[in-house]
């Protein structure tokens, strides 16, 4: 499970090809909804902060592999059997914020990024 503790573990075991990247200030996130961020490599990430999950921050790819558009941060967040998900705003498929799989079609999944807060900044662990 991607918790803060897990993220810290990632940090301690981060290899040279992985590094923590600053994305934005935490106060730029909007509770229970998503924002999009652009990485240096051109990839887009959807970042969510869930009030009912102790303000945990989740980051997944912003690209909806079914609708083929960069829209996932605009989906509604919620849960399926208490697993946090974001529903694609195009065709409503729920994607797990924990492991990125499409809950209704497990053959499809999106990438997930470990997150942490460092000095008031939201950081993602990026593999180069």
């Amino acid at each position: 499970m991607t918790t803060l503790a897990y993220a810290d573990e990632q940090l301690s075991t981060a290899t040279q090809s992985q590094r923590w990247v600053d994305i934005c200030r935490q106060d730029q996130l909007i509770e229970d909804t998503g924002v999009a961020a652009l990485l240096e490599n051109g990839k887009q990430v959807a970042i969510f902060q869930l009030a009912l999950k102790a303000q945990q921050i989740y980051a997944v790819s912003n690209f909806d592999p079914i609708g083929q558009a960069n829209v996932l941060y605009r989906g509604i967040v919620g849960c399926v059997n208490s697993e946090p998900v974001v529903a694609s705003p195009l065709f409503k498929q729920p994607f797990s914020l924990i492991d990125g799989r499409c809950v209704t079609d497990e053959s499809i999944s999106i990438s997930v990024y470990p997150t942490r807060i460092n000095d008031g900044k939201v950081q993602l662990l990026i593999s180069d």
Binding site: I30, A37, K43, L50, P65, G78, S82
Partner: protein
């Protein structure tokens, strides 16, 4: 292992299909190899609901099976395979294309064809019948170039056909040889009331008319000449004068046939050749042909069981029937004409409301023999049970058909014996329903699929629901209507909780009544209810995470993630100056421009970050948001009305502007579309809208619950000749009642279809204030109207809200995956193969 018996079924109508289903799904199915030969170009479809083809159902919607399903059932089949000859000695049959099939047992389910009376001139191309999907296609085609249509035959099917012509916009006549309509099923007084009702709907009925010939017309293409010298001009003639069994194959192969047609069968549905069965409308049992699907299905079952060596027999069938003809409820049970010697009749007639009920009882007034119900069939189910099960009548039998304020003895679901037939189409008894429930069917849908009950004509849905709910609640099973896994409530219950407990945000709602984080079903539903009840700014911090993406960015997301923008153009009226502004904005931001069906202009291809700038220009020019993104009131379409039009009788544009201004932005369970027409020519198409208003000489006619879209529904005429004030009062009440009681994403059309008591009930609530809610509904509407705000204006004044429109939280670069190409002088989204490939779009 012994060789399989080869069963060949000729004909794949409803009954032929039912036989295939019975045999192939039986426990002994592996003993048989089944081959189906259909002369039609498609497999079995639902002919009972054929008229729904005109209401927008497709051939696929009506299909009862599919090639896939038959393959799954291991049933061989051929379509377009008309059988030419049977060789009874060699036990083979040959199709028109020369294919030969051998059989061990043969089942004839060839059905019937419409009888066309031998009238001179009946062979012209505008003479049609009403039996197959191909017939309906021909009618539709012919109607498109016709003004007047005549149905020859005033029976059940004839009236259904008349309804179809009426809906196709033809001036419609029904010509009947007998002195009354539906002479087989109902008595003369009932026939008279039915006639009045049908004529009041604009269909002319001519009884006692024998057509002698069809000749060229003067004002129309043709003219019917009657034996009494009268004539009737028409463009289209539809024969519905009864059916004749398809028995040619039986005649050729010298099986016994009846004097007036029909393949003679015994109680096991065997013909005079024991290896050949006949079932359905081609079969003649006891000198009688059953032209309904229920007895046909019973025959199919008997034949299938007999083939498996069981001792089944067909012993006749109940011909009772309940249906809605042109909006008029008609029911006929048992001996409707009181032909049983010694029988007595009770009659109730209400000419004010057009209701007629007759009840035929035995000489001792102990048992019900038959009944006729016109205009109100609410007692049909219980009367049918009295008749079928021989239940003793109450001391005062007449109380069963007298209006409901008298003490009507109720025949509840528990009172029915286990042998009571619930669904006569599929011969499902109360005991079958109980067995299904005992075996684990706990929802109505599940019970339907296990027992097949209510999947034929659908007339027993209410009864099945009663019996199932009663049985389920006896077992302590609650019938679930939960909106999603997070709230154990229906939308209507959530609405009441939010209102009564004055809950104003989702977190409080979740804490008090839900569990988990919510989802994309309950969140927007809650947001919509909050908006309907409290009407706060939808992008307020506490509401914004609940909104669908369209509401979040106050625009409509398209497939590539860009948005379309729809400014409000009330009533479709726009000044040249405003039109120029729209043109300039579209040009500046390079937007694809299209006129909508709701008389507005849609601007496509706006990036999220462009939306605030676009709207600033539009708001500065005096535009308001069009709410095209919301489940809310959209447009009020109008024609120019009496201001310009030679035919207009009221100022439809002013009324449309008033209505649009009053209801704009109101959040509702689903989108709402309105229209106002200035005269009966109906150029604004108000009858296809949720709320339709049509001008009359004396005021306005109000239509409600119409719908275009996926399942078109004609709006119901709700009230006539209203003054402005009453019109608005009624619309207020209808809308508010809908907003409070409808399910999530339920359009008004479906809401109406599911409403117990239907149109009359809604009229009672709104016009007669039967629930005492009228004042409350109006006040609630007033409070919403009084707190309207243009969401775009509010958003533009809020710098924090505008932050969210930036493309990325950490960059101002635009999304490189959004790319356009040009087509017909405007942009369109690039297809994947047209996109610049150097750009990384996914991982």
């Amino acid at each position: 292992m012994s060789k399989k018996q080869h069963i060949v079924v000729v004909g794949n109508g409803m009954v032929g299909h039912h036989f295939v289903e019975q045999l192939s799904q039986s426990a002994n199915a592996e003993q048989f190899e089944i081959t189906v030969l259909s002369a039609e170009p498609r497999l079995a479809y639902d002919r009972v609901h054929l008229s729904e083809f005109f209401a927008g159902k497709s051939a696929d919607d009506l299909a009862m099976t599919s090639m896939d399903l038959y393959q799954q059932w291991q049933v061989n089949f051929r379509i377009n395979a008309k059988v030419d000859t049977i060789d009874r000695q060699g036990k083979t049959l040959t199709t028109q294309t020369g294919e030969v099939f051998s059989y061990d047992k043969l089942v004839l389910a060839t059905g019937s064809y419409p009888f066309v009376p031998p009238i001179k001139g009946n062979d012209n191309p505008d003479c049609l019948v009403y039996r197959t999907i191909e017939d309906l296609q021909a009618i539709s085609h012919c109607a498109s170039k016709s003004k007047v249509g005549v149905v020859v035959g005033g029976g059940l099917l004839g009236l259904e056909a008349a309804n179809a012509l009426h809906h196709l916009g033809l001036q419609t006549h029904v010509v009947e040889f007998a002195p009354q309509l539906m002479a087989v099923q109902i008595d003369k007084p009932g026939g008279d009331i039915l006639r009045q009702k049908i004529e009041s709907l604009g269909v002319q009925v001519h009884t006692n008319r024998a057509t002698t010939q069809i000749v060229a017309g003067d004002s129309c293409r043709h003219k019917l000449c009657f034996s009494d010298g009268e004539e009737l001009e028409t463009d289209l003639i539809l024969f519905s004068a009864g059916i004749r069994p398809y028995d040619q194959l039986a005649r050729q192969s010298e099986l016994d046939v009846g004097e007036r047609g029909g393949i003679v069968v015994n109680n096991q549905c065997q013909t005079s050749d024991e290896n050949i069965y006949a079932i359905g409308e081609c079969a003649l049992w006891n000198n009688f042909i059953f032209g309904l699907v229920a007895p046909g299905n019973t025959m199919a079952k008997v034949a299938a069981e007999h083939l498996q060596g069981q001792s089944a027999s067909f012993t006749g069938a109940d011909m009772s029937t309940k249906l809605k003809l042109m909006g008029v409820d008609v029911g006929s049970i048992g001996d409707a004409h009181g032909k049983t010697p010694g029988s007595l009749t009770y009659r109730y007639e209400d000419q004010v409301n057009g209701v007629y009920k007759a009840m035929i009882v035995d000489s001792e007034q102990k048992k019900l023999l038959g009944a006729v119900l016109i205009g109100d069939t609410s007692e049909y189910d219980s009367l049918l049970q009295y008749m079928l099960n021989g239940i003793d009548l109450p001391a005062q039998p007449e109380s069963l058909i007298l209006p409901s304020n008298s003490d009507k003895p109720l025949l509840g679901a528990d009172a029915l014996p286990d042998t009571a037939t619930i669904c006569s189409c599929h011969n499902v008894t109360k005991a079958d329903v109980i067995t299904a429930i005992d075996e684990g069917a706990v929802t109505l849908d599940f019970i339907k699929s296990c027992t097949k009950a209510s999947t034929g004509c659908g007339g027993c849905v209410a009864l099945l629901k009663d019996v199932s709910s009663n049985e389920l609640s006896c077992r302590g099973v609650e019938v679930k209507k939960d909106i999603c896994e997070h709230f154990p409530y229906s939308r209507r219950e959530l609405f009441d909780l939010i209102k009564i407990e004055k809950i104003t945000n989702f977190n409080d709602l979740m804490a008090a009544h839900g569990s988990g984080l919510g989802c994309d079903i309950c969140k927007p539903t809650a947001a919509s209810i909050f908006a309907s009840v409290w009407n706060e700014y939808i992008l307020d911090k506490k509401h914004q995470p609940l909104q669908d993406t369209n509401d979040t960015f106050l625009a409509n997301m398209q497939k590539d993630g860009t948005y379309s923008v729809v400014p409000r153009i009330p009533g479709g009226e726009i000044t040249p100056d405003k039109l120029i502004v729209i043109g300039e904005v579209a040009k500046q931001y390079n937007l694809y421009t299209k006129i909508t069906g709701g008389q507005r202009i849609d601007l496509f291809g706006a990036r999220k970050e462009e939306l605030p700038e676009i709207w600033r220009r539009l708001v500065d020019a005096g535009f308001e948001t069009g709410h095209a993104y919301g489940k809310s009131v959209r447009t009020v379409k109008s024609c120019v009305g009496s201001t310009w039009c030679r035919f207009g009788v009221q100022d439809s544009v002013s009324m449309a502007l008033f209505i649009e201004d009053r209801y704009k932005g109101i959040r509702s369970p689903h989108k709402l579309k309105f229209a106002v027409s200035g005269c009966t020519r109906e150029c604004a198409e108000a009858q296809s809208k949720d709320i339709g208003v049509i001008a009359t000489e004396n005021g306005w006619n109000l239509y409600v619950c119409g719908n275009g879209g996926m399942k078109p529904r004609h709006a119901d005429l709700f009230a006539t000749d209203l003054d402005d004030e009453t019109l608005i009062k009624y619309i207020d009440r209808v809308l508010m009642f809908y907003i409070e009681t409808a399910d999530r994403l339920q359009r008004t059309s479906v809401w109406m279809n599911n409403m117990e008591g239907g149109l009359e009930y809604l009229q009672d609530v709104v016009i007669n204030d039967s629930l005492g809610l009228a004042t409350y509904l109006e006040q609630h509407m007033d409070s919403i109207v009084g707190t309207y705000q243009c969401e775009w204006k509010t958003t533009l004044e809020d710098p924090k809200a505008l932050e969210r429109f930036k493309p990325f939280v950490n960059s101002d670069k635009p999304d490189s995956n959004i790319q356009f190409v040009e087509e017909r002088g405007q942009i369109r989204p690039a297809r994947p193969e047209e996109k610049t490939i150097a750009i990384v779009v996914q991982d």
